[in-house]
Amino acid sequence: METAALQKIARRVRFEAVRMIYEGKEGHPGPALSCADIVATLYFDVMNINPDEPDWEDRDRFILSKGHGCPIWYATLNERGYLKPKVEHFHLRELGSIFQGHPSMHSGVPGIDMTTGSLGNGIAIGAGMAYAAKVHKKDYYTYVICGDGEMQEGVTWEGVNMAKGRGLDNLVVFVDNNGWQSYKTIEFTIGQNNMADRFRAFGWHTQEINGHDVEQIKAAVLIAKKTPGSPHAIICRTIKGRGLSYMENNNKWHKGVPTEEQWAITQTELGGE
């Protein structure tokens, strides 16, 4: 897909993600917006998928390991045509809604390949999917988006080891490296934010890109696919809350709901075509 069209979709799903949080009165807008360009590029350009057949066995798999960012995933699935008819009001986190607080593969949202929300598990689960592809002689890829904060979970590195040990070069992990976690920065919390060095040290094929540049995202996936032998990490420099002036790099928006005034700003900055 052309860059301008992808950027337009990314803007659209950003707006929808914030809208569902504004209407539902709860959610994590900052973490959703920082990975919007990655999710949009995967679903509208990179992944081999069929929204009319969400369980197609040869489809590329996707895991949002940082499950609290799910508003962007719900919005993207809706824009991509998974929800039929297209959803107008998400009722995010409301009783009886299919749009659970964190993604559930059985809540009724088509296209959710794995339940997530408990941080740190996406890489190991993705490794399982990637391993199954190898033994089932399938050529699908498994894509995982992790937050940089959740890399503090030990199980993350268990999955990193396993994927390297089994040579899972059909596994592509994006790290949404926005530099923040629930309370403060990654650097404050663990003293450093050296994601790329870590993945390289674990033997992964590692790239560093601007996670808001759809061209760079597309190019990095192509390079990954041409580099056999090891799993792939794409460390994406991102801005938490990217796309809204009042949210960008402001960790107050890790979780929060826009006021009416802020919603008006949202409509100005992200609404319309």
Binding site: G126, V135, E158
Partner: protein, 312 residues
Amino acid sequence: MAKFKGVREAFAAALTDLVVEGKDVYGVFPDSLSAMRAISFGEKYPERYVECGIAEQCAVDVAAGMATTGAIPFVGSYSGFLTMRAGEQMRTFVGYTDLNVKFAGFNAGCMGGEREGVTHQFYEDLAFVSSLPNFKILTPADGNQMYKAVKLAAELKGPVYLRGGSGKEPTVFPEDAPFSLDGITVCKDYGSDAVILSTGHVLDRVIAAADQLKEKGINVTAADINILYGDNPAKILEVMAKTELVVTVEDHNINGGLGSYISRLATENRPVKVKRIALEDYSESGPAKELGDKEGFSPENIAAVVAKCLGK
């Protein structure tokens, strides 16, 4: 059918035979292939052997990911490392998702971990797994039953937890005995003075206690419970209905295992006195027989508890 002795070799043998039968099964091991006595499985079917390193949480996650593709992974390791260290992964990514992952947890009970000591003995697993919706819990008493339980687990849809001990437990069931889908097998039916219910590798001790009681003129029924918290306890209730005293015996903490299950069945269906023989503290290192005796699982103690409850 591959040859085996004890629950661990039985697990590996059944997994091997399932591959031969064409099932899409895998052994997912957190560096536990050797401990599971499954080296020949790994050597024979390297693609079916999924090594995850010493990382139980990862092993459960990998199995969950594999199960989304239609594969049937069996995660084999020590019961506590699975149910406690990787408990959240079992709950959220297998139980909640209702994925077709099977768990084989060994070293269960003080006799399961025996000389290795408390860090490698696990008496809490059933309390945890029994609180997970969608899980089925199978507790085979010996190798012959474990072999059949593994085969059954592969047929059941959804999460299954198989509980096993050291692999050195006595063989009680004949090779051709079925794994009861009723969740109960009556082993001795001497009478209705009491019903002694056993689960797992204490069964030989319960049967010996029944024999000792008979010699003293106390006639009991001794039965093995091989499915805990199952959907259909009708046959268990039928056996419990014939007595006013049920005694449960399990190599598990007194809370959350067989005794809790049977107490629930009694209180919800037909109130009857239930006496539980189980662990109430952390155990210690020791050879299985001596350790089991010390922890109250000797046939003599089981018989004495039953007699005391009957006022004899």
